[in-house]
């Protein structure tokens, strides 16, 4: 399994925990009070409870069921039922490799995490969940680039493509409603990092160049919605 995105960094604040699924692997992704991000198997070793239902206290994630506390290394260091007990070292959450780069949280469930290299000066646009396979979702984003991505008479170019990331150079239409997108000398770039949740669900995490305006981001967000509909309709028609 390769490195995949699980969330925009912006969408996981300090002291928050979320559930993420990656190629059918169920994960708890959380950020400590000091900002450290971790991605773990979504299962407390004690009684199998999903850790994504837990709560963050300082630098620990605690399970919702019995409050067992795990530190950022995954080691259980506090069992509330036995406050005086030093928990055995064998009680440990199952950790995955995780890193943050270019405003995106990347995880590899089986090996070293190596995020796709993207410019660091980007801003978060949104994440969109699409009910189709990753391949169909990727194709839909590409189709919409060459057809009518953001405005009716726009052409967008796919500048690079890996299994999990599409990098698009934003449109340059003369009549674009968003002035920064008309700036040929400094075009807006759009990055779409794709997360394979399972065979039938994909999440697209979208970022854009730092200089894209708020209006640009709203236009991109609406465009992503159209792509979703397009992708889901194309799945529906083949079923």
């Amino acid at each position: 399994m390769t490195t995949q995105p699980v969330s925009l960094s912006r969408d996981l604040a300090e002291k928050q925990v979320m559930r993420a699924e990656l190629s059918d692997v169920d994960m708890a992704v959380w950020r400590s009070a000091s900002g450290v991000v971790s991605a773990w198997e979504n299962r407390c070793p004690h009684r199998g409870m999903r850790l994504s239902h837990g709560f963050v206290r300082g630098e620990s994630l605690a399970c919702a069921y019995h409050g067992w506390h795990y530190n950022c290394e995954g080691a259980c260091h506090y069992i509330p039922a036995h406050p005086e007990l030093e928990p055995p070292k064998t009680i440990k959450a199952n950790l995955y490799n995780v890193t943050e780069a270019s405003g995106i949280i990347w995880v590899n469930a089986v090996g070293t995490v190596s995020p796709v290299t993207l410019p660091s000066n980007t801003q978060a646009v949104r994440s969109v969940s699409v009910h189709c396979s990753l391949e169909i979702a990727a194709q839909a984003f590409k189709d919409y680039c060459s057809l009518s991505p953001i405005t009716a008479n726009t052409r967008t170019e796919v500048v690079s493509e890996s299994p999990y990331v599409l990098a698009l150079k934003a449109p340059l239409p003369a009549n674009s409603p968003t002035p920064s997108m008309q700036d040929k000398s400094n075009p807006v770039s759009v990055f779409i990092a794709l997360q394979r949740v399972n065979q039938t669900t994909t999440v697209a995490h979208i970022t854009a160049s730092e200089h894209a305006s708020e209006t640009d981001c709203i236009a991109l967000s609406r465009w992503a919605n159209k792509v979703r509909t397009h992708a889901e309709v194309s799945v529906g028609s083949t079923e």
Binding site: G48, M49, I79, P80, H82
Partner: protein, 290 residues
């Protein structure tokens, strides 16, 4: 037929509350993955020998009996005796069948959760427990050989609102019994009558290995709360439990050691898993019967 199912078929399971169905009314249900039809018979006169209720599995009538304000069924050909709860015969108690809650989990996970006290401060916060009162003190667990039941005694836990009738926090004493693989009975300090114990039971109807209907039942000393208030209190507690039960992975209960890590507070759960294994009660367990 697999051995786990064959074993489970000889036990009794709740299927309806008494009076739940009007005469002539029927409902569909499921027990151990088998579709059943429950029919409340129309008995016109009192000399009629028609039983009040008929339950059929795949067209054939199955064993039926009434106990603890519920109808119970056994789909096997050699039913074991239904366990007893002596307090069900004490006329000064309030008997409260609490209805049914469907849970997407193994019936064994539902029972095990009922035997657990360490989760009270986190799942039933402010009601059955609260931080910092999280410690589970040493208690005793054994298998009663004559009754073939798991028994846990000498359990003490601080509870902010131990029952509907409780005013303020009390140190509550608990005793647990597991009289059948899919039933558990607890006895706890009665806030209104400290010398007596309230009885709360969990009767689990296994729809299949990963889905169950849970029928809580209580026999209390409480002459102030209304029946609706008592039911609502129990439903609140159980809905909090459901949010846990539907998020445990795997859905089936691992009964061999190694899959999950218990601590001292889990002695009852450890004893329950061993007892299930010893008697061959593998329906709803992760492992196949050896």
């Amino acid at each position: 037929m697999n051995a786990a199912l064959e074993h489970a078929l000889q036990d009794w399971y709740p299927i309806a509350m008494l009076g739940e169905l009007a005469p002539g009314e029927r409902k569909q249900s499921r027990v151990l993955g088998i579709d059943v039809t429950v029919l409340a018979n129309d008995s016109a006169d009192e000399t009629d020998s028609t039983p009040p209720i008929t339950v059929r599995a795949e067209g054939a009538p199955v064993h039926v009996q009434q106990a603890f304000d519920h109808w119970w069924v056994c789909l096997g050909n050699a039913p074991k005796p239904l366990f007893s709860i002596e307090e069900a015969g004490e006329a000064d108690r309030r008997f409260v069948p609490c209805g049914v809650v469907r849970v997407a989990c193994s019936p064994l996970r539902a029972v095990e959760n009922f035997l657990d006290i360490a989760h009270f401060p986190f799942v039933h916060t402010g009601v059955l427990g609260a931080e910092p009162h999280t410690e589970v003190y040493k208690y005793d667990v054994k298998v009663d050989e004559t009754r073939d039941e798991v028994i846990a005694t000498n359990i003490k836990f601080y509870q902010p609102q131990a029952a509907k009738s409780a005013e303020g926090g009390i140190q509550t004493e608990y005793i647990y019994r597991v009289p059948a693989p899919m039933a558990a009975v607890l006895y706890k300090t009665c806030p209104l009558k400290p010398e007596a114990m309230d009885v709360i039971a969990l009767f689990v109807q296994p729809l299949d290995e990963q889905t169950c209907d849970v029928w809580p039942w209580m026999a209390l000393y409480d002459d102030t709360s209304t029946q609706a208030e008592l039911i609502q209190f129990q439903q609140l507690i159980f809905l909090q439990d459901r949010s846990i039960l539907e998020n445990q992975l795997p859905k089936k209960l691992p009964i061999d050691p190694g899959h999950e890590i218990p601590t001292k507070a889990d002695y009852t759960s450890v004893a329950y898993r061993r007892w299930l294994k010893k008697r061959g009660a593998y329906y709803g367990a992760l492992e196949a019967q050896p």
